[in-house]
Amino acid sequence: MDTSLKIESLMQKGTAFFPGAVGPFADNADSLFYFIFWGSVIIFVGITLFVGYFLLAYRRKKDSQLATGQMTHNTLLELSWTVPPTILVLIVFIWGFKGYLHMAVPPLDAQEIHVNAKKWFWEFGYPNGNKAIGELVVPINTPITLIMSSDDVIHSFFVPNFRIKRDVLPNRYTKLWFEADKVGNYQVFCTEYCGTGHSAMSAIVRVLSAEDYKAWLADANSGDELPLDKLGEKLYTAKACVTCHSTDGSVRVGPSWKGIFDANRPIKGGSTVKGDENYLRESIVNPGAKVVVGFENIMPTYAGSLNDREISALIAYIKTLQ
């Protein structure tokens, strides 16, 4: 398995305004952007020249402070700056609509992957039942349809390199499709404001070559050989625990994991509880049961997102953080 997780930079490659282009939609969006951009530049320069010339030519004179003309109408002139812009924006409208329709209709043979958004991570469900958090792995040159829903508030799935974005709603499915034509790791952002962890709610789309993808499928349960605490360390990032919990004692949205094992934890309501295996397990599966003082009850449940071995692995990892 390819272990290099370098994400394509959004600032390098690409054009002056746009990040590197991947997939079928970039052509339409980018060319449309530059069409409007250069059109605007031409009009803007025109405006500037006219205004500049008027400022120079018609500066108020000391001897005569009156305007030299009082033109109030010129039908030809008015038509000439009403009709062409109207035609231009209609072109832009049709151009944009065509691109939008292309995005709206996924090919029939597209592979379906379920996307579940929760505060604040992305969970991807593959057809074979595998689930992964924070990493969407897809083969190159294969149309993929994402069927998305949210467990809590509205999120939005955005891959700048692919030029795709769609809101992810609770109680409803929204669809999004793409077909990556370049191997690489691409940044996913949440673009609908969803609270404290909004900016940390990112993920990666890993586009693999056909062979690598096969290998990845075969290798999907590779976590089995790792010792528990090492697997836990891996899951800490992979399952997006890192969004809210630090391992160095600093406070994020949730309590830091450093030194919490076997420590006395003050709980909302006045009691304390010992941070043993059972407490940690309960806090992963049913986070609202005992909330530590100073934090809010906002963590989603990981029941179903982690199997028993993975929960044990996380607890084993927490034990090492003393």
């Binding site: 405006i47 108020r60 033109m71 609770p170």
Partner: protein
């Protein structure tokens, strides 16, 4: 000091004479004061959040505090500053003067609107100290139902401010219909009045929908009625539809008065009749009407139907045309004029260029496929700041400088006005042009922490915010100085023809000694043979 003639400022004395005044000019001045304070407050939040963004990770604030900062910045700037900015302050001061009337139609209602505004503002301020709201100024459900911060006080504040806006709108419409001086026909009205008229129509028609939406959100939080809550069978996207049914026309509540100011500035400083008076006047009304049918362009990626998206995109372009036509008309007005570059005219130029950039980028955002990429990124942030700040705020400041001598009877320093303008212009473009690039590159808005690769652009944007702040602080100083030490202003320092310049500076409480009789249009410089 020379003897100051009797005017609306010194006619009566004492705090009470201001608190219970029915004079539209005093009410306008009080609005101006509160609006200036709100702008300062919103600007302070803006500086604070730009400062935090200097660093890709934590710098000064926690994520939650940052979210509260951008929410407060947005809510204060939108509801307390920019919606009332031009209509309530300049509009109140000017409307009766420009019509040749003694006051607005309902002076008591006018004072009540001011107090409702202050009352609503107090709720917003209260919200800042009671667990400041962190939903973004758009209050999207279901997040705004779930969050533990003080949503109710802020939405209640906006709800109350809405009524202030509605009542001002009612007052202005009636004033324009019924209070015009003899001879002031509809087509002899200054374009400022036309734009206030169009604005008032939107205020009356759109604001109640926002009011009911915010009320439903409050009920959602207090009683869980479930209309916007997916957990109870409701629909969160319905909230977005309702919200933008108000808030998109509200964008025109913000920009239309600015367009009115700009028409006054360009004619006065070019000594030129406006090019295409009727076109400019009617395009205000056209914009007001079409603006009610474009709200869906905020929801292109929310899962609304593709046909709805298509229609909203098309209508968005239709509303763009009248705005573009206006820009060309203003430029044509300069042709063969007698152009005097004074502070207000500098802001006219600022408006012209910045608003055009806002318009061009609006064309990009209205294109469906392109919007999918740009939606909810910094590109949108930059776009609406170019329109709202580059457009409305520049016009507001230009108008303030234009009517300042009339309002206070004092001149200000042209030199310092130029310096401040230069700082604001440079700073503004540093802050926001940068954000076009950031957004197109994929930087989402409302992000507390961001990828390291975005840092240089973010830092440049933050530096720009400091440059701009210097400009505004300078402005506050020289305007204050003008009040205390400014040269006495003549009645008509710019040689303009609209009625407010035909009375003394500052005007009498009754505005005119005798009700003026209007015999010509507002910009008939051709017939005016004086220098």
């Amino acid at each position: 000091m020379s003897q100051v003639p009797l005017n609306y400022l010194n006619a009566t004395k004492g705090l009470k004479s201001w608190l219970f005044t029915l004079d539209h000019k005093r009410i306008g001045i009080m609005y101006l004061m509160f609006i200036a304070i709100s702008f300062g407050l919103g600007g302070f939040f803006a500086l604070a959040l730009r400062l935090e963004l200097l660093n890709p990770k934590e710098l000064l604030f926690t994520a939650k505090q940052y979210n509260q900062l951008f929410t407060l910045h947005g809510a204060v700037m939108v509801f307390l500053f920019i919606v009332p900015s031009i209509p309530a302050s300049l509009g109140n001061f000017l409307l009766p003067l420009q019509l040749g009337a003694k006051d607005v139609a309902f002076p008591r209602l006018n004072l009540a609107s001011l107090y409702i505004y202050v009352f609503g503002g107090l709720f917003c301020v209260y919200s800042m100290f009671s667990g400041a709201v962190d939903t973004g100024w758009t209050f999207y459900t279901p997040y705004s139902i779930d969050t533990s911060t003080s949503v109710i006080s802020m939405t209640l504040g906006a709800f109350i401010l809405g009524f202030s806006s509605i009542l001002t709108g009612v007052n202005f419409i009636v004033t324009i219909h019924k209070m015009r001086a003899p001879g002031m026909t509809w087509f002899r009205m200054p374009l400022m009045v036309w734009s206030l008229y169009a604005t008032a129509i939107i205020q009356v028609l759109a604001t109640p929908v926002l009011a009911i939406t915010l009320l439903l959100l409050i009920l959602e939080r207090t009683m869980g009625i479930g209309i916007f809550n997916p957990a109870l069978g409701g629909d969160p996207v319905l909230f977005q539809h309702f919200f933008w049914f108000y808030s998109h026309p509200a964008v025109y509540i913000m920009i239309l008065p600015a367009m009115g100011v700009i028409s006054e500035l360009v004619t006065a400083f070019c000594r030129k009749n406006i090019f295409g008076y009727k076109l400019v006047a009617f395009s205000s009304l056209a914009i007001a009407i079409i603006s009610f049918f474009v709200w869906g362009h905020h929801l292109f990626v929310s899962g609304q139907s593709d046909y709805a998206a298509m229609i909203f995109s098309l209508l968005t372009y239709l509303v763009a045309i009248p705005s573009a036509v206006k820009v060309f008309n203003w430029i044509a007005t300069m042709y063969r004029g007698s152009i005097q570059i004074k502070a207000p005219f500098l802001y006219f130029l600022a408006f012209l260029f910045l608003f055009s950039i806002g318009g061009f980028t609006g064309i990009m955002l209205g294109a469906l496929s392109l919007d999918v990429h740009l939606h909810d990124t910094y590109f949108v942030v930059a776009h609406f700041h170019y329109v709202m700040m580059g457009g409305t705020v520049m016009a507001f400041i230009g108008g303030l400088h234009y009517w300042w001598p009339k309002m206070f009877g004092r001149m200000y320093s042209e030199f310092w006005a130029f310096i401040a303008w230069a700082f604001v212009m440079v700073g503004f473009n540093m802050v926001f042009f940068t954000q076009f690039i950031l957004g197109a590159k994929g930087m989402p808005r409302r992000y507390y922490s961001y990828l390291d690769q975005f840092q240089p652009l973010h830092a440049f944007s933050t530096f720009g915010s400091w440059v701009m702040a210097v400009g505004f602080i300078l402005m506050a100083f020289y305007l204050m100085d003008s009040l205390l030490n400014g040269k006495k202003a003549p009645d008509n320092p710019w040689g303009a023809l609209t009625l407010e310049w035909q009375t003394q500076s500052p005007p009498l409480t009754e505005n005119f000694i005798e009700t003026p009789v209007v015999t010509r249009g507002p910009y008939d410089f051709g017939q005016e043979k004086r220098s």
